[in-house]
């Protein structure tokens, strides 16, 4: 016996883990019966998968099991798709489950579900990615078999709904081994044309016959197309991966044609309706402006301008009359006043005094004499009477 340096439990466990990481234990599909099922508070599902002779512990984490369309329970026989790993803390190997599928599902279905989960996880199905289709496409591209019923249906519907629509056909294989590549190539050709919407599809068929439309390469090509894509793969109820990735899914090729092109009559009706609404709106506007104008014109100021003028004239006359009265009254007052003053003036007039017999006595220099002492004896004085004047010599005076 050779003595070897002991390794730790952790180291051994790590080795076991590495050994179990072998490719053959990754992405396996295992059929078994569910037992000891626990839906933990954390959202994770813990259970065992067993058959008559063996059992294996399994875990399906919340991120994965949220997408389950059914609720697993003890006793269910299911197919678990996942990978084997080791849970180091308790030295257990277990199946880390990515997908749980009902029993009896074939390879194709499993592959389908796996691919669907994968692409969905990448966000390829997000509604935000989906583009709107043009209202009236300039040219419709159709990717399908040139000899199939699907093409006939599409062409019929397109022409019926809108006779003038331009169509460009990209022939492809829709079944068989070469189909996915053929479809991908057709999509790629279409990108360089002036087509503004694409229909990709085929008539009805079995799940196996529709396989090309579940191809990963085709799904990615549709996702990358710069032209909006409408998928139309046969059956009303079946969904292909192409349906999920496309910008719009139609249940049948005819339905796709209806979605892609509007009914010509509908468009004409819309345009006519807009025209009518426009005309009506403008007419109403003009009418309302007219009414406004009419109201303005009916304003008395504009209707009978003389009325205002006459009113003003009348007022003017009244004022003038008042002014006249005032003026005459004022004149009369002034005359009376004048007469009064004149009367007074006359009374004070020296002529009046002279008329009463008084005389004005002036000396030789013309000075009016009021006092006797203003003259000396023998001086000549002049006396003015009412009529005529005298030159006198002073013979005596008092005092």
């Amino acid at each position: 016996m050779v003595f070897v340096q002991p390794i730790s439990v952790s180291q051994l466990t790590k080795q076991i883990k590495a050994a179990l990481a072998h490719a053959s234990l990754q992405d396996v599909a295992v059929e078994g019966e569910i037992s000891n099922f626990v839906h933990h508070r954390s959202g994770h599902m813990y259970f065992s998968l067993k058959d008559a002779d063996s059992r294996i512990k399994a875990v399906m984490f919340r991120g994965r099991n949220q997408r389950l369309s059914f609720f697993p329970k003890n006793g269910d026989t299911l197919i678990a798709v996942g990978s084997v790993g080791v849970y180091e803390p308790n030295g257990e190997y277990q199946l880390y489950v990515d997908l749980l599928l009902p029993q009896g599902i074939g390879d194709l279905h499993i592959a389908f579900e796996q691919l669907k989960a994968k692409l969905e996880g990448e966000g390829l199905f997000d509604s935000k990615r989906k583009r709107a289709l043009p209202t009236l496409p300039h040219r419709v591209g159709v990717i399908t078999s040139p000899s199939g019923a699907a093409l006939r249906d599409i062409l019929n519907v397109l022409q019926r709904r809108h006779p003038g629509v331009k169509i460009l056909l990209f022939p492809a294989l829709v079944q068989g081994e070469g189909a996915p590549d053929s479809l991908i190539q057709a999509l790629s050709f279409a990108q360089n044309t002036d087509v503004d919407v694409l229909i990709i599809g085929r008539g009805g068929g079995s799940f196996e016959e529709l396989a090309a439309f579940n191809n990963e390469g085709l799904a990615r090509a549709i996702a990358q197309s710069s032209i909006p894509v409408v998928s139309a793969c046969g059956h009303e109820t079946d969904f292909t991966i192409a349906d999920f990735v496309a910008d719009l899914r139609a249940p049948t090729p005819s339905a796709a044609a209806e979605l892609v092109v509007p009914l010509r009559e509908d468009l004409l009706v819309s345009v006519t309706s807009f025209q009518n609404r426009m005309v009506n709106a403008l007419q109403r506007r003009i009418e309302s402006e007219r009414r406004y104008l009419k109201r303005l014109r009916q304003n008395p100021v504009l209707q009978k301008p003389e009325h205002t003028i006459n009113q003003r004239r009348q007022r003017l006359d009244e004022l003038w009359t008042s002014l006249g009265r005032f003026h005459r009254h004022a004149v009369v007052l002034r005359r009376e006043k004048l007469a009064g003053v004149v009367g007074k003036l006359e009374t004070l007039s020296p002529l009046n005094t002279l008329a009463r017999g008084y005389a004005i006595c002036q000396n030789d220099q013309g000075l009016i004499l009021r006092e006797a002492k203003q003259v000396s004896l023998g001086e000549i004085v002049h006396v003015t009477l009412r009529e005529g004047s005298l030159s006198c010599t002073v013979e005596g005076k008092k005092p």
Binding site: P134, T135, L136, H138, P146, S147, A149, R152, L155, Q159, P163, G164, V165, K166, I167, L168, L169, F170, P171, F189, N192, T193, R264, L267, L268, S270, V271, F274, Q275, R277, M278, V279, A281, L282, R284, R285, I286, E289
Partner: protein
């Protein structure tokens, strides 16, 4: 208007109609809008009336031919 797409024309026409119905523009502006609307409506009608159906098939990359629908 040759580069104008049908959608854009229809959308602008709808915009003009709403604008006129709301009556916010002056009468002068309204008349200008109306004229634009008439041109757009005419354009849309022409597009819709294009009756020349054309079905072609791309047999190889870059090679396009007229397609004859085979009755089956």
């Amino acid at each position: 208007m040759s580069e104008l797409r049908f959608e854009e024309a229809l959308a602008r026409l709808e915009e003009i109609v709403r604008s006129l119905e709301q009556g916010e523009a002056t009468l002068d502006e309204g008349l200008v809008l109306f004229e634009e609307g008439v041109k757009l409506a005419r354009f849309c009608n022409e597009k819709v009336d294009e009756a020349e159906a054309k079905i072609e098939i791309m047999i190889q990359e870059g090679q396009i031919e007229t397609f004859e629908v085979k009755e089956q």
